[in-house]
């Protein structure tokens, strides 16, 4: 109450109104995101005021595009986006789950559910050769919720192969080593995996080759452009000759660096028809490009910082920071390097590499919003594969886990608690059902029938999920519908926490600059 005294102008909502406001906010978000869930959900096309288009079926993307004002809604949205940051998927589930929890207006017992999740999960042995089929099933489950089936199935192979390509035994998977590149192409919708790299720039000299086979790759971070020296070399020259002499001397240093590269090229390429490609993180100015072109070298400047790492993983060799200690050992290798030009955009493909630990997923699409949507889906797919490898387990999907968890809570856990807490367990259990319910709703099925059918099967001890086409129960294991263990775990972890925190709010005080104008 002391706060009210301090600021008499602040609006104060009392306990019931505060609860109401929070529940409404959660419900509002749930309503918006609900229709996204599952392979039968609705894709959303967002058209901005200036005609910009965004396509999304991803809860994370949708949330980021929304202009959320309500503080409670922002809290929920933040939780959901954090979910995406951690596990790459499950945003929509988080939001609708929180919404449902809030509606059920109870808090407690995620512990029991988590324990159940541990029991329920299907362990997958990864070992040295991960089971590709399981990975594909997980990837397909998530991709099919974002893209239509044929496209999702095509991408499934790509994302699984991409992750397996960059996977090193005994090391955490770094998904940044999968570059996602896009091209805007008039008629083409196509995605392919390039074992190697695609860079979004080309050489800047007309005489350099546009296509070369059997290439040595020099990855370097050396400035090959004339820069005024940092040292205060005196600003004033007494005459023009002195100035010229100084410029020439500084220029000579750059030329020497270029010549060292040319020397190395001559050393490794003499007597064979191999080629030499320089990919530099720093700049290369026209005189240096000239020198390199005359020596038959292809040179790219200002490569992405992250690509320097990827190049070395894909082609071998090492990234050099100085040309003083150049040896043939620092060179990488690629079977084919070629340039592709689309309008003002240039792409350089570095392909046929020996032991790729880095690869590129190349997305072609007719417009930016299609590309952006495929990109989001590919990211989710990659994360799903990575999670599976790292979790070493998966969870049966199609709503099977949620129904099973509910059964467990009602039949086992409820009996172990006393008094009012029983109601809490029941509420929590029922909140879990929102996933199969929404899946059914989005498929145009009767939610009551579906839930009765599913719980009936579970009572008989059959673990089933929902067939979205027929509304019949199916065995997710047979159909290959698997969700990530870490995604489910995260949802159960964060949903009740945020919900219970919001429910603890007794009073909402709105104060501040724009106090009297809501919006």
């Amino acid at each position: 109450m002391s706060i009210r005294v301090l600021n008499p102008n602040a609006e104060v909502l009392n306990k019931s109104a505060a609860l109401h406001m929070n529940i409404n906010a959660a419900k509002g978000l749930q309503d918006v995101l609900k229709s996204n869930l599952g392979p039968k959900g609705t894709i959303k096309m967002l058209v901005g005021g200036a005609g910009d288009i965004k396509l999304t079926k991803d809860g994370n993307t949708l949330l980021k595009e929304m202009q959320i004002q309500n503080p409670t809604a922002i809290m929920i949205a933040r939780t959901a986006v954090a979910q995406d940051d951690i596990s790459g998927d499950g945003t929509t589930s988080t939001v609708i789950f929180i919404g449902e929890l809030m509606k059920q207006s109870e808090r407690c017992i995620d512990e029991a559910t988590l324990q159940f999740l541990e029991k329920f999960k299907t362990p997958v042995v990864m070992g040295n050769e991960p089971d590709k089929e399981i990975l594909k099933m997980v990837a397909r489950t998530t991709l099919r919720t974002k893209l239509y089936e044929a496209l999702a199935d095509q991408l499934t192979d790509i994302v699984v192969n991409a992750v397996l390509c960059i996977r090193k035994p005994e090391e955490a998977i770094d998904l940044f080593m999968v570059e996602i590149m896009h091209m805007r192409h008039k008629f083409d919708v196509d995605t392919r995996l390039v074992e190697g790299l695609v860079l979004d720039h080309g050489s800047r000299h007309p005489d350099m080759k546009r296509r070369a086979e059997n290439c040595y790759i020099l990855t370097c971070n050396v400035s090959l452009e004339y820069e005024k020296s940092e040292v205060n070399a005196g600003f004033f020259y007494s005459n023009a000759e002195q100035r010229e002499a100084m410029v020439a001397a500084e220029r000579r240093q750059v030329d020497e660096r270029v010549n060292k590269i040319i020397e190395l090229k001559n050393k490794v390429c003499s007597g064979n028809d191999n080629n030499f490609v320089v990919i530099n993180q720093k700049g290369i100015d026209p005189p240096s490009l000239d020198l390199l072109a005359r020596a038959g070298i292809i040179a790219l400047r200002r490569a992405k910082r992250r690509n320097m790492e990827r190049l070395v993983l894909a082609c071998g060799g090492e990234a050099v920071n100085s040309v003083d200690d150049l040896t043939p050992d620092s060179l990488g290798w690629a079977g084919l390097v070629y340039e592709h030009i689309l309008g003002e955009e240039k792409y350089t493909f570095v392909e046929n590499v020996k032991n790729p630990y880095s690869c590129t997923i190349l997305i072609k699409g007719p417009n930016d919003h299609t590309i952006a949507q495929i990109k989001d889906a590919v990211r989710d797919g990659l994360r799903a594969v990575k999670n599976t490898i790292e979790d070493e387990s998966v969870v049966l999907g199609a709503g099977a886990f949620e129904v099973a968890a509910r059964q467990y809570l009602i039949n086992e856990v409820k009996k172990t608690v006393q008094g009012r807490a029983q109601l809490g367990v029941e509420a929590f259990a029922n909140a879990l059902l929102v996933v199969p319910k929404t899946l059914a709703e989005n498929s145009g099925l009767d939610t009551q029938d579906v839930i009765i059918a599913l719980t009936g099967e579970h009572d008989q001890g059959n673990i089933v999920g929902l067939n979205q086409h027929t509304g019949e129960p199916i065995d997710p294991q047979m159909e290959g519908i698997f969700d990530n263990y870490s995604v489910k775990r995260q949802i159960i972890n964060s949903g009740p926490v945020i919900a219970s925190q919001l429910l603890l709010v007794d009073e909402v005080i709105r104060a501040g600059r724009n106090m009297r104008k809501p919006n």
């Binding site: 229709s35 392979p39 039968k40 959900g41 609705t42 894709i43 959303k44 096309m45 967002l46 058209v47 901005g48 005021g49 200036a50 005609g51 910009d52 396509l55 949330l63 980021k64 595009e65 202009q67 959320i68 922002i74 949205a77 933040r78 974002k146 893209l147 239509y148 089936e149 496209l151 805007r184 008039k186 919708v189 979004d200 720039h201 800047r204 400035s223 452009e225 004339y226 820069e227 005024k228 940092e230 205060n232 600003f235 023009a240 100035r243 700049g283 100015d285 400047r301 200002r302 992405k304 910082r305 689309l342 003002e344 007719p366 417009n367 919003h369 299609t370 495929i374 600059r513 724009n514």
Partner: protein, 571 residues
């Protein structure tokens, strides 16, 4: 040719930038206009320094600013973030190629183009049809009245910086930050800017790389950032990244403040918060650039800089126009083609690149990175003896919190005068201007140690969307009239071009600016039981970091005043 990449971060920075690019666009237009003033038609200024040539997928050639603009989602008004040139012809309704299930469309209310943008759009369409049917000048009288409507409309209707922009932008240029879920007022906090996601920073630097990769030899970055609120920290992070990635490329940083951010805070807490904010923001920004120019007076209207102007402080559209004019003048020498040390063109003299300006101002005996921006808008005509006496007095500062009349023998200056008028309303020759400035300095009581002078013949063109801010003493070509004309406010329809003088000054006059910030950081942040300790914690800074900032600031003070009291009182 040495390219410049321009970066604009924040709302007001983009207002300034929008005016800046309007000037460039006007210059390009006047140069290609067969009936235009010949003074604009020389190749002395190399626009390729600021612009890039490109090609759309349809094969149309484009010429767009080498610019990266960062702002809020929704701050582009009716402009699409893909710019205007590279759009494919919209197929309505666009088909969804990735989903066979249901599609729900959520369209926001289309934002209508305002009168001015409508007119640009129509002109573009007309110019396409006119190539087939030659009938120019038929509906001219009708246009005249429309011009006035447009100017009138812009005076009151400008909401977004795109409302008065007549430039085509490249799709990579306009970046909107999404997923922040907060209003502009809420973003007005340094700490919040620090929280912006890492993916966002990656995306910004990726876009910058796109522009830099094309450059054969980038001479530097021209960076305009809002020196308040969250954008300042977004800008600082970005600058840190640039300093890391393009180590030897100089950054010329304009830290702009819109007059709104000078609002008198209501409570003691707000005062503390604002002061700390300014200090932290300045210290962070200045540490990642070669030269920082604080721009933005608390009240431009009442300042001496607007002696011949009537600026309304509450309109960013007005204030940004003045600042943009000064920035334009400063950027002229970067675009002059150097002819060798001794040769001089009759159109300009004093070519120098960003690196050169940095060397002149910050690389001499005193390594002072903070410079003052002065402007004379419009610059006086070079008539009679008295201009030699009064010319320097016309240059008035746009940098806040500096002391006047400081005698600083170590001061260094870099001045640009362009389009100056001589006797009888003719353009003064380059040599006349040079002689006048020399005489002016000889007559002055205090002289800087060194002054670099750049002169161009070409005046500042006033494009149609320029605000009505000229007073009634400014003539059609920016000459100062003896007696006031009737209309109290004159805009782009009455004034076609103005001569301008702008100056960057490295002088100890900036000491109060630095000392205020140093004092604030010590008093409010570092001291035992400081009033702002809580705020600092909320911003996510530890005491060590704050002490480092204090250290940086006190070094800057020491550089200018070796005997400063401030520098030694740290316990």
């Amino acid at each position: 040719m040495k390219e410049i990449v321009t970066v604009q971060v924040g709302g007001f920075a983009n207002f300034v930038g929008s005016h800046f690019w309007n000037f460039q666009d006007e210059l390009l237009g006047l140069a290609s206009d067969p009936s235009g003033d010949p003074v604009f038609k020389n190749d002395a200024l190399n626009m390729d320094v600021l612009y890039r040539t490109g090609e759309t997928q349809q094969g149309t050639l484009t010429y767009t600013p080498r610019l990266l603009s960062v702002n809020f989602q929704g701050s582009l008004g009716s402009m699409s973030s893909f710019g205007t040139l590279y759009n494919e012809v919209a197929s309505t309704p666009p088909d969804v190629l990735t989903w066979t299930g249901n599609v729900s469309t959520h369209a926001s209310e289309p934002r209508k183009r305002n009168l001015f943008l409508q007119r640009l759009y129509e002109e573009e369409r007309d110019s396409l049809t006119q190539e087939n049917a030659i009938n120019g000048g038929k509906n001219k009288p009708q246009r005249e009245t429309e011009d006035e409507d447009i100017v009138e409309y812009l005076e009151n209707g400008v909401q977004y910086w795109t409302d008065f922009s007549k430039v085509h932008y490249h799709p990579q240029s306009l970046y909107e930050m999404s997923g922040l879920w907060m209003s502009v007022q809420e973003f007005d906090s340094y700490g919040i800017g620090r929280d912006t996601s890492w993916a966002l920073r990656e995306e910004i630097s990726e876009r910058l790389r796109f522009f830099v990769e094309e450059c054969d030899h980038v001479q530097g970055f021209q960076f305009i950032v809002n020196d308040s609120g969250g954008f300042s920290s977004v800008g600082a992070d970005f600058l840190e990244n640039i300093a890391d990635e393009y180590t030897n490329t100089p950054v010329l940083l304009y830290a702009v403040k819109d007059p709104g951010s000078h609002m008198i805070p209501k409570s003691q807490k707000q005062v503390v918060s604002k002061n700390l904010h300014d200090a932290i923001s300045f210290s962070r920004l200045s540490s990642f650039c070669k030269l920082i120019v604080p721009v933005g007076l608390p009240s431009l209207r009442r300042s001496k800089a607007s002696a011949f102007l009537c600026v309304e402080d509450e309109k960013p559209y007005h204030c940004s126009a003045v600042y943009a004019s000064a920035l334009h003048a400063i950027s002229l020498p970067f675009r002059m083609e150097p002819l060798g040390p001794s040769a001089d063109s009759c159109y300009f003299s004093g070519a120098v690149d960003i690196h050169g300006v940095v060397e002149i101002l910050a690389g001499q005996a005193r390594q002072n990175r903070v410079t003052i921006l002065d402007v004379a808008m419009p610059a006086p005509s070079l008539t009679g003896k008295q201009v030699e006496q009064s010319f320097l007095g016309n240059l008035q500062t746009l940098t806040p919190e500096i002391s006047e009349d400081v005698e600083d023998l170590q001061a260094v200056e870099s001045m640009t005068i362009h389009g100056a008028l001589g006797s009888g309303g003719h353009r003064a020759l380059v040599s006349e201007v040079k002689n006048m400035v020399r005489a002016a300095y000889e007559n002055a009581t205090t002289r800087p140690r060194f002054c670099n002078l750049s002169v161009a013949l070409c005046p500042l063109p006033i494009p149609l969307p320029f605000p009505k801010i000229f007073g009634n003493l400014v003539g059609q070509h920016g000459e100062l009239l003896g007696s006031p004309v009737d209309s109290p406010l004159r805009g782009s329809l009455d004034v076609h071009s103005i001569p301008l003088a702008a100056r960057l000054r490295s002088s100890s006059a900036v000491l109060p600016f630095l000392e205020n910030r140093l004092g604030n950081i010590r008093r409010l942040g570092i001291q035992q039981g400081a009033a702002g300790a809580e705020i600092v914690r909320n911003l996510g800074y530890g005491k060590d970091e704050l002490e480092d900032m204090g250290e940086t600031l006190s070094k800057m003070v020491l550089e200018l005043d070796p005997y400063s009291q401030m520098s030694s009182d740290s316990d």
